[in-house]
């Protein structure tokens, strides 16, 4: 029926020409007319209709409507921050400027009446530039933050305050569900993540950072426990899409591949994962020792969530050996995702490293992580070279395997070590660590047996590309460490020798990575994508999972036939941006140090492959999660300013790290206009409405609604010039104004400057010993929240007439009156529309599925299936 109203631009359909009147005569009595009159009841039906042309479309409206109203009725979005539908256009934000043909100065559409025949352009370069400038000006005085620093720093941008809040309330399943929106494996990550989030936790300004990693580990463990004990399916982060019938082959079952498989399955595709090893897991299984990540209890249990979605893992199938890309595509896989990781250990490039006892650290770990003694390790003097997680795993596993002495040598300083947070535990267990020393040569005797390694001291030079100071050899400082065995853990690259006949197309980059787009993950071969370490080089598990998730969405878009070039923009929109700023320290917070996981003593764990950290108790996890300061902006997700800022690139371009500028700009209010800005104090004195003036953009919506719809007039523009702020008189508490707690100001606020406080509402308690049953609370409550309570049985006497005359004075159209916080509802609706919200009862039951036959032989790794060694 829209077709009846909206016509393409043709000479005949220009507005208000006689020809048009002729052709649309049936409109008067058509479905379209009923559509219009039922959809746009704001104007009397007797108003004459007019036609205007917007962006080349002819649309219909009523005489007396503004351009903005006509566009909104016709589904054309014009951005605005100050427009309140119940009131006439205000014209403060200047975001709704449009171009009208024949007018030099662009009018603002919220105040300009539509006139028949008008030709409007809503998205010209000119008006978009004006809007962008306005947004930049707003941001330059916006002393607030969107994302908390922890979420910002997480490579996968997990909603950390969100899951901690659920933890604090004891909803561990919901906590895990929130976590799984961005990372499917909370228990695995809860053990192996280096937790960059915790380094930036603001609780640090009070006492100590929150134990974010240990907290999601607990929630994940609860899900696993429920699954294993009671066969309860793990929670799904989103409702599962209907099957699409498209098939995806994922090569590699490491964190990136399995994360991609998980989200592809949720999006309704069939997924088969090919794994070259006898059991799935990749580095998680063969690179991380048992004592850090129990293989059966945690890794396999979490991977089962993929199996329960119908994912199939086929083991013992290696790319380039057992199959080629051609094979997969001939077999009818619509997309192939390469996630084979990095397994090719770098060479030292020094004499003697070809000696037999100079081992590849990964090769060593492959055996050792399964808890098996590596041949001839006991009693040896071992030198481990490197500073990453692999070096740490090599050292600590060597201790457990009875090495006589273990020396870790790293060429940079300790603080520059990627695994800096683990080094203390290694030293506790008996590892000797030497920093700022690099190998010169591996010493061997006549039989080629390793006798030691000669090192040279390093001094720290200028910072390099990674921001760490470059180590440079200090001549004359050579020294030797005697040893029997050397483990090399100096980084890995991907194995790319499978590229060739049958697998043509993908290319290696100059620094030996698989070339793939950072956003669309496309390789040079159509339908073939690459993600994870193979694309970016050896990185952390959390980075790999973030890669996997993002690539899953790219593959999903490809399978749905979307334009991959257009995805680049969409992906940018979907990924949260680094937006946070100087945040006021929490000095008033009660100090409560972090609850630490209890761990085995170093003496005991030296000989044990058992996980050495004990999980929290319920009391501890709730207490620890409660420590979270919930730094997130309450408005995130429905803040119009943030949405427009992303759309108009005023947050992205100015905040991305730039070459030679270090980490880039730190905050939203740093852009080309940065100057003096305001920082206001939060007012949470009111029971239901939270005021955060630092987030206020002075659009005036609250003041206008409060004065003209509610009649209370609590707010107004105060002060003058740059210091103008929409606030209460004298910045007094809302409690001291004529506030009727109706919440309409919070409802209309386009940012998080005024927020409903539902959590406070839930906690409201009545002291019955003092209640006189006057019923005022019942009448004043705008949500009717108290109407049905048994305690208020006498209160009906005054219910009939409104308590507050101010409400009666206002000319409120009862039909359009909103009795519910719109934002909450909008959020829910949008989440449902976008498939992001799962209602418990609506989750599709997925039949429990074990690992596929192909993986059965390696399914129970840790039980002795290490055939590849013999």
């Amino acid at each position: 029926m829209t077709d009846l109203i909206v016509r393409p631009e043709t000479p005949e359909s220009r507005p208000d020409t006689p020809a048009v009147r002729g052709t649309v005569a049936p409109l008067e009595d058509s479905v379209a007319e009923r559509f219009i009159t039922t959809q746009a009841p704001q104007r009397p039906q007797s108003s004459p209709r007019i036609r205007i042309e917007v962006d080349g479309r002819v649309v219909e409206g009523f005489e007396g409507q503004t351009i903005l109203e006509v566009c909104r009725d016709n589904g054309i979005e014009i951005p605005t921050l100050c427009y309140e539908p119940k009131l006439p256009g205000f014209g403060a934000c200047r975001m709704c400027v449009v171009e009208v043909e024949g007018e030099g100065h662009p009018p603002i559409s919220c105040s300009r009446q539509a006139e028949a025949g008008m030709k409007v352009q809503t998205q010209t370069d000119e008006v978009r530039r004006l809007r962008r400038t306005n947004l930049e000006l707003i941001f330059s005085d916006h002393n607030a933050y969107c994302l908390p620093p922890c979420q910002n720093k997480c490579p996968s941008h997990i909603d950390i305050p969100g899951f901690l809040k659920q933890n604090a309330e004891g909803n561990f399943r919901e906590s895990a569900r929130i976590f799984k929106r961005t990372i499917p494996f909370p228990s695995v990550l809860g053990r192996v993540c280096p937790a960059p989030c915790e380094e930036h936790c603001r609780r640090d300004e009070v006492d100590e950072a929150i134990a974010i990693r240990d907290s999601h580990r607990y929630a994940g463990d609860q899900v696993i426990k429920a699954m294993l004990d009671d066969d309860v399916d793990p929670p799904l982060p989103f409702e599962r899409s209907a099957p699409t019938g498209r098939r995806v082959a994922v090569i590699g079952s490491g964190p990136a591949g399995m994360a991609a498989a998980y989200y592809l399955l949720i999006n309704g595709h069939e997924v088969t994962v090919f794994e070259r090893d006898p059991a799935p897991g990749g580095m998680l299984r063969y690179g991380i020792p048992q004592y850090r990540l129990p293989k059966v209890e945690v890794l396999e249990a979490e991977y089962e969530s993929v199996a329960r979605l119908g994912g199939v893992v086929v083991c013992n199938q290696a790319l380039g050996v057992d199959f080629t890309l051609d094979d997969l595509q001939f077999q009818g896989f619509d997309a192939v995702l390469i996630a084979i990781g990095c397994y090719d250990t770098n060479k030292l490039g020094v004499p003697g490293e070809d000696a037999a006892e100079c081992l590849d650290g990964l090769e060593y770990l492959r055996t050792a992580t399964l808890g098996l003694p590596y041949p001839g390790h006991a009693g040896k003097r071992v030198v481990v070279i490197g500073g990453g997680f692999t070096s740490m795993d090599c050292s600590r596993t060597s201790i457990r395997q009875g090495a006589a002495e273990v020396t870790l040598v790293y060429r940079r300083d300790m603080k520059d070590m990627p695994a800096a947070n683990e080094v203390h535990e290694a030293i506790e267990e008996g590892v000797t660590a030497i920093f700022q020393a690099g190998p010169v040569r591996v010493l061997t005797d006549d039989q080629g047996k390793v006798t030691g390694v000669e090192f040279i001291r390093m001094q720290l030079g200028e910072p390099d590309a990674s921001g760490r100071r470059r180590p440079e050899p200090a001549p004359g400082t050579e020294f030797t460490i005697a040893c029997d065995r050397v483990l090399l853990a100096i980084g890995q690259g991907p194995e790319l020798d499978w590229i060739g006949p049958g697998s043509e197309g993908p290319k290696a980059t100059r620094n030996r990575r698989l070339q793939a787009d950072a956003v669309t993950f496309e390789t040079g071969r159509p339908g073939v994508f690459a993600t994870g370490d193979v694309r970016v080089g050896a990185a952390t598990v959390v980075q790999a999972i973030a890669e996997g998730r993002r690539s899953a969405y790219a593959v999903d878009a490809y399978l749905k036939g979307h334009d991959l070039a257009a995805i680049k923009t969409r992906q940018t929109l979907a990924e949260p941006d680094p937006i946070f700023l100087s945040i006021v320290p929490f000095t008033a917070e009660v100090k409560e140090p972090r609850y630490r996981l209890k761990a085995l003593e170093a003496e005991e764990r030296r000989d044990s492959y058992v996980e050495y950290e004990f999980p929290y108790s319920v009391e501890e996890i709730v207490a620890e999660s409660t420590r979270c300061l919930q730094c997130t902006c309450e408005a995130i997700g429905y803040c119009d300013l943030r949405r427009l800022g992303i759309e108009y690139g005023t947050t992205l371009t100015t905040l991305e790290p730039r070459p030679n500028q270090g980490a880039g700009l730190r905050s939203v209010n740093e852009n080309r206009f940065t100057g003096v800005n305001h920082d206001y104090v939060r007012d949470d004195s009111h029971a239901f409405i939270l005021r955060e003036p630092a987030r206020c953009i002075d659009c005036g919506r609250c003041a206008n609604v409060c004065a003209e719809v509610v009649g209370a007039a609590c707010y107004d523009f105060m002060r003058i010039g740059f210091d103008t702020l929409v606030t209460t008189p004298l910045d007094m508490s809302l409690n001291d104004t004529p506030c009727v707690s109706c919440g309409r100001c919070a409802e209309t606020c386009p940012t998080g400057a005024l927020m409903p406080k539902p959590r406070v509402l839930q906690k409201y308690e009545v002291d019955e010993s003092r209640c006189i049953l006057c019923g005022i609370c019942v009448d004043a409550c705008p949500y009717d929240a108290l109407r049905d309570g048994g305690e208020f049985e006498l209160a009906h006497t005054s219910r009939a007439e409104p308590m507050i005359d101010l409400m009666a004075l206002a000319e409120v159209d009862r039909e359009t009156e909103v009795t519910y916080i719109r934002k909450e509802r909008d959020w829910l609706q949008r989440a449902i529309d976008g498939g992001r919200y799962v209602e418990g009862s609506r989750v599709l039951k997925v039949l429990p599925a074990r690992l596929s036959p192909g993986s059965a032989n390696g399914g129970g790794a840790g039980d002795g299936s290490h055939a590849h060694l013999e």
Binding site: R94, P106, L130, F673, F717, I720, G721, F722, D723, L725
Partner: protein, 454 residues
Amino acid sequence: MSLLKTPAAWPTILLEHAPTGEEPFAGLRRAVRELGPAGTIAEVAASGLRGRGGGGYPTGEKWRAAAAAATVPGAKTPAVVVNAYGADPTSLTDRTLVAENATAVVEGAAIAAWAIGAEEAVIAVRTGETAAIAALEAAIAAAHAAGVLGLDPAGIASLAGHRPGSARRLEIEVRTVQGAYMLGEETVLIKALEGKRGQPEQRPPHPTEDGLWGAPTVVQNAQTAAAVAWILRHSAEGFRSVGTAEEPGTILVDVRGPAGAGVAEVPFGTTLRDIVKLVGGAGAAHQVKAVLVGGPSGGILPADQLSTPYTYQALRAAGAHVGSGSIVIADERACVVDLARLLTRFCADEACGKTIPCRIGTRRLAEIGERLSAGTSRARDLDLLVDLADDIIGSALCDHERLATLPLTSGLRYFRPELDAHLERGECPAGVCHPIALAGAAPAAPATTTTSAA
């Protein structure tokens, strides 16, 4: 404020007193008895009179629009607002006019009200101006005494051919308003008279359709009213013979310089040089370096632009505007950067705070000026100045923010070498700013009277 002596050839219109002995309020009587409402509007339109409030909109057209809006079914009785407020602190023109010739202002207001069918006219005056209020009250009392105000003004009802519907009651009220620079904007003045928040409204609709209390309203400057009184007392042709063909008549200017200051009535088309001469230029010991034309949001024109004729069009083309009629002379001791930063900051601080480009944008403009003056400019600051000024003008709600860009943009246009000296060499040629060693040092006051006024 003293009235300056002007050359004998310059006619007196706005400050002309009706000759004693003549029947008082002759213009109003002529409008009522001879011309009728439509004839009065036609006469004003024929005179080519433009509003003296700064905008320069043809008065006849404004009256016609209000009169037409009043005939729309359901329209309220139209209203007239005369702005004798004098919002600009650097200009005493309106106040001088009221003090010198309150009768003409009252008569012009009454003629306007009668021509568009209004029953009331409001004259807005600054609360503290007790002398002006007293003068206006006296003129209104005299009009009542002369029988041209109140019920049946000027004996309309007794006239043959009187049409029903034309005004039968005519009252003029003096209203005091307290407020700020922004009251020079007509929609802000209306809001202030209504007792509302002093913020401008989007136009259209113009006040001629939706003004005071929703009625079609003619808002005009006190000088316009005085000119109307003269036109009706004399003739449209007589008015046209003064000034330029496109912009006839005279206007009051407030000239201030190192050597003297005062208010003068000048015909349109007079060159800036002739106006500057009225106060002796920059004095014997100094040279004129620049003239600030149009008040705090005016343009800074260099000495070689002194041949610019004082007209709306010519000034706009030169990067200034008539504005409040203020002309400030700066000599070589003044620094244009310092002047521009002060003026822009004044405009930013006086902004009502309604729109984003005005509240934040003008402040950011001022900060660019402050950085220039302090020697802390960022790379591309001058580009930023141009871009930001463009965008402020592009999405402006009222003239305040549009014109607030003028001091810096006109400074950039005419005094680029002086800006570059600040920017590139950290020098202030006039020795006013301290671009390098700013920390803690208060900049010396520029050698013009502008700073104290702004």
